[in-house]
Subunit: 217 residues, 2 copies
DNA sequence: TGTAAAATACCTACTTATAGGTAGTAAAAT
DNA sequence: ATTTTACTACCTATAAGTAGGTATTTTACA
């Protein structure tokens, strides 16, 4: 049974991690890294010409991130397994990755043995989530039960306006930019403040930063 | 000359990166990874018993980070070279790492070849900084020249008020809290905006976060 | 001690934001 | 087919912030 090694596609935007993992995995006789990609787009292109059993991908990448990549793979190649492997135990991503139907989620601080174990488990139609992920999920659940007021209740337009607010646009400027009335912008702001339950502009910015609605501050 | 391979100590808190790099570097005949450490403390302990030529370390780690580790190594073992290898091209760290007298600074998105080149260069008493780092430094320089209007020009009271603003206090509340008139608070706000050259409240918060006047958002 | 910077305070005027209401339309969900 | 949700828009009113001015007191320091 070990004469057909598991064929792996590695996806990561860090060259060293890519080649490092390759060297690591190729030490295993039943594993074979058949291709490397620096981002999701490149990965999807490689899948057209390479038969692989499992894709191991990072989350944060240029062009197309690991979540979108996972969604695409699962749509186009349902048989191919996806293992997400990331440095960041970001809360925000965990649920998204689960929703994208990834078969596994590991943090890069796992050991070589656990990675191999996870790969083998997944190619045998299992799933594998590291302990940290599980505990993050538990915390998420608790928070959602207590807070209950989170981002999914904000509409697209509201998120858009929050972004503009955080980019130092005033209500008038937002109105101009979005070709809507200032009154409408005011309504949105009103609803945003009400939904998020914050006190004022400053509170809104804190909320936006804490919930990853805006970045780069 | 190639009969004495370069002895390497790898330091990273991510097990996979550690073993991945090890596998990668051991492919080179003139390089030899002699020890692995998960953090700075472990690394220093290993240096007591292992003769190494160069330490390759990450920055963000528990217990003791890469910057403090570099300082310690350079104090206790001036002959040992240090190459900092990080995923993050964080502005903040660049200058600190340079001040810690690291012999090189690479981002993990460099290729295998460049890493090996850097190692060889450094053990031959050279230094090696990746292109991104150099450009970050250039940007830093420019910013310092152009901005020039930074925190030292803000008075204690002004900094105090910025902090309160960022804690969602309104001018009226700040006035109450500091036992001064609202008019005075307004003057301070006015001066703060003028000194920092920002457009409005949101701009002020960005400024405060970027300059470390407030934390924890 | 004299001077400069910082902090205090008040004035006017204007702009922006918050908070309540009502209400029409289009799309999505039940 | 009806209800809900999102988006749109306007009205009123108050609160908060921005921007200019002047002026007194306190503090720091040369």
């Amino acid at each position: 049974m070990e004469y057909t090694p598991t064929k792996i596609l590695l996806v990561d935007d860090h060259e060293l991690i890519l080649t490092g993992l390759q060297a690591l995995l190729n030490q295993e006789p039943n594993l074979q890294v058949v291709a490397l990609a620096n981002n999701g787009v490149a990965a999807l292109n490689l899948l057209k010409t390479h038969a692989v059993d499992i894709v191991i991908t990072d989350v944060k990448m240029p062009e197309m991130n690991g979540i979108v990549l996972t969604q695409n793979i699962k749509q186009q190649y349902p048989a191919i397994k996806v293992l997400v492997l990331t440095l960041y135990n970001d809360r925000e991503y965990v649920t998204e990755i689960l929703n994208a139907d990834a078969d596994g989620y590991l943090l890069k601080n796992v050991g070589q043995q656990e990675l191999i174990k996870a790969i083998n488990h997944i190619v045998n139609n299992g799933t594998y989530y590291s302990q940290e992920i599980v505990s993050i999920l538990k915390t998420e659940m608790k928070e959602k039960q207590t807070q209950h007021t989170t981002l999914q209740e904000l509409s697209k337009r509201e998120l858009e306006i929050i972004n503009l607010i955080c980019q130092e646009y005033s209500s008038n400027e937002i109105a101009e930019k979005l070709f809507i009335s200032k009154a409408t912008v005011d309504v949105h702001r009103k609803n945003i403040l009400q939904k998020t339950g914050v006190k004022n502009l400053v509170g809104l910015i804190r909320f936006a930063l804490q919930n990853g609605i805006v970045q780069g501050f």
